[in-house]
């Protein structure tokens, strides 16, 4: 049987949701910022070698906003996993992280949530360490869509957990 799971990327605007997906799906990156409106949907097959299985991720690239409560609820129907993305270089994008995650959990409990700090290439290792201490709840990955750091790892881990 074909396994297909819906993964939604959510977070403030400009944090790099589209860029992370582009890096994962096409392995490219652009410095230009094109604001996403509505939603773009991508599909990519991930091979889980350990279990000799394939899984298709249907990835929803949502438009970012100031407050994730403004997200259209129809987009969230039937979601299997969320990737909550913030921008490590812009405090405004992680100020409300605790409330946001609580909201997601409330809205659809049992859904898998991964918390991702993107643009890690803009900070030093030391700064990331410091930031990690300040942010609650725990961040799962610090990624860079620009360098590709931890991007594949993020989606593979997610795919594994979704199987």
């Amino acid at each position: 049987m074909k396994i297909s799971k819906k993964v939604v990327l959510i977070g403030h605007f400009g944090v790099g949701k589209s860029s992370l997906i582009r890096r994962f799906v096409e392995n490219t990156f652009s410095d230009d910022y094109k604001v996403t409106i509505g939603v773009h949907i991508f599909k990519k097959k991930v091979a889980i070698t350990e279990e000799d299985k394939d899984i298709s991720l249907v990835i929803w690239d949502l438009e970012g906003n100031d407050d994730i409560r403004d997200t259209r609820t129809s987009y969230l129907l039937g979601t299997h996993a969320y990737i909550y993305v913030f921008d490590v270089s812009r405090p405004a994008t992680y100020m409300t992280i605790k409330d946001d995650i609580d909201y997601l959990k409330q809205h659809c409990n049992k859904t898998l949530i991964k918390i991702v700090g993107n643009k890690e290439d803009l900070l030093t290792k030391e700064q990331i360490k410091q930031l990690n201490k300040e942010i609650e709840p725990l961040v799962d990955f610090y990624t860079s869509a620009k360098t590709g750091n931890e991007v594949d790892e993020l989606f593979s881990k997610l795919a594994m957990e979704l199987i």
């Binding site: 297909s4 094109k34 939603v39 599909k43 259209r72 129907l77 270089s89 405090p91």
Partner: protein, 507 residues
């Protein structure tokens, strides 16, 4: 007619599809994309996978706005609805192409998001720069502050050494020691001033003073300095200048001596002219013109602006000593008086620095009452011995004070370096005066002073307290006064200042 018009000019295009409960397309009117019959909707775009579990629901309407779809190699942005009827009828799917509408919306969102992000980044950058700048200035201020205790030690002990039997060679070495430490002290003062200037903490203190005395003093000093370097020194001071005026005498002296130091430093032969004249007296203000003319190396036009900047020395930095901050301080101080410093210069010929500064005219009566008050030192009883408590944790300062007081032979000095011991010590003895360091290891001296002022016994709580400190911003001085501190001796101090201040408060 209307039908054709609608077809030709209607903007919204809607495609209707009927699908079975597995998503197989049964019927389509092929408005947006054709030849889809018998395909599964999930093959058209992964978006539709979301709909599959919903197809068997009972009479529901689902709306999905602003979905980007790739259809037949064409990208559109559409609103999609799904209408279900339970098992009795197959579901209906509509796809409305709103591409041009959403394109407009995208442009608006783009502008908005970019401007928000830019302002966030700018704010971040500014706060980062501000923090860095503040850190630098506090660091410099604290650091120069720490340098003052050791410098005080060197200067006091050089003074004390001068009065001991020394041979000629030793006297010469001592002179070098003294001039080097004075030079070092001047540099530290400059750096401290600049750091105060940068955080906006340097303020003028306006008080009546005798400007003629100040100018005579400067002339006495600099005619010697110029002569030592083989330069002629000429000074003209306008007779019409009022004697008593209101202004910041300390800062005026600093401006003039910085300009004169600078002139002497950069002049190898020729003369230094120092002229002071009265421009006018108007509305209780005297405008006085100051100029310092040298026959030194001059300044290239392209360098004129940078001589007033911090940490800049135009000429080879190795050949001239100094902090390089003198002119920056001059410029700032002059600007504090709402005036400007101007420079006329010619390379190889020399430079003229000049400025006009306004001073308050002091009324006649005040002039007579005020002057000299500070210089009167009350004679103290020669035969009486005084008990003095020194609260200080720096050993160098302890020694300096000890030596100065010991030479007078009139004082018993008790030293406490631990803040917690001060109150018990005062309660158990009878001191005539307390010398109080402000920055102790674990407590502020002004806090201790407050406690002293609250002691139950009258003799204890009335004891005169003199602060020994380098922290003399005007906010600090106010704080000391409020804490009940009678006077302040600025670190580094010399023998005369310390003794005079102590004497003022002894009975």
């Amino acid at each position: 007619m209307l039908k054709t018009y609608k077809k030709e000019h209607g903007k919204t295009i809607i495609q209707y599809l009927v699908v079975d409960f597995n998503g197989q397309i049964l019927e389509s009117d092929d408005v947006l994309f054709s030849n889809v019959k018998a395909q599964n909707i999930t093959d058209i775009n992964p978006f539709f996978e979301t709909l599959i579990p919903l197809l068997e629901t009972d009479h529901e309407d689902y709306f999905f706005n602003c979905i980007h779809l790739n259809l037949n190699n064409k990208s559109i942005t559409a609103d999609i609805t799904l209408k279900t009827f339970n098992k009795e009828k197959y579901p209906l799917l509509t796809i409305t192409d709103l591409s041009s509408h959403y394109k407009h919306y995208q442009t608006t969102a783009q502008v908005r998001n970019e401007s928000v992000i830019n302002s966030q980044i700018l704010e971040l950058k500014n706060s980062y720069l501000r923090e860095k700048e503040e850190f630098k200035n506090t660091f410099i201020a604290n650091f120069s502050h720490e340098l003052r205790d050791p410098i005080t030690g060197i200067i006091t002990f050089s003074d004390i050494l001068t009065n001991t039997p020394l041979n000629d060679e030793q006297q010469n070495y001592l002179q070098i020691l003294k001039s080097s430490s004075n030079f070092l002290k001047k540099m530290i003062d400059d750096i401290l001033d600049i750091s105060k200037i940068e955080v906006g903490k340097l303020k003028l203190v306006l008080k009546p003073f005798n400007i003629r005395e100040l100018l005579n003093d400067i002339n006495a000093n600099y005619s010697i300095r110029a002569k030592e370097k083989g330069l002629e020194y000429v000074s003209t001071i306008d007779e019409k200048i009022p004697t008593q005026i209101g202004g910041d005498a300390i800062r005026l002296r600093q401006v003039l001596t910085n300009l004169l130091d600078n002139a002497i430093k950069f002049t190898e032969k020729g003369s230094i002219n120092f002229n002071v004249s009265l421009n006018q007296i108007r509305a209780q203000k005297a405008s006085i013109h100051f100029e310092v003319i040298d026959t030194g190396m001059g300044i290239a036009p392209e360098n004129i602006d940078s001589i007033f900047k911090n940490f800049t020395q135009i000429n080879n930095p190795l050949s001239f000593k100094g902090s390089g901050l003198g002119l920056a301080i001059v410029k700032y101080l002059v600007e504090l008086t709402h005036s400007k410093i101007s420079v006329e210069t010619e390379l190889g010929k020399g430079s003229t620095f000049s400025t006009n500064i306004n001073f308050r005219l002091e009324p006649e009566s005040k002039q007579k009452a005020k002057p000299l008050k500070k210089t009167i030192t009350k004679p103290i009883k020669q035969d009486k011995k005084y008990n003095i408590l020194l609260v200080e944790d720096s050993e160098i300062t302890q020694l300096s004070v000890l030596k100065i007081l010991a030479r007078k032979g009139q004082f018993f000095l008790d030293i406490v370096s631990d803040a917690s011991e001060v109150i018990p010590r005062i309660e158990n003895s009878e001191f005539d005066l307390v010398l109080m360091d402000i920055k102790l290891k674990d407590q502020w001296g002004d806090e201790i002073a407050k406690k002293i002022r609250q002691l139950p016994e009258r003799e204890h709580k009335r004891v005169p307290i003199i602060a020994l400190t380098a922290k003399i911003f005007s906010a600090d001085l106010k704080k000391y006064k409020k804490a009940g501190i009678n006077d302040v001796v600025k670190k580094p101090f010399d023998e005369i200042t310390l003794i005079n201040t102590i004497n003022k408060y002894l009975k």
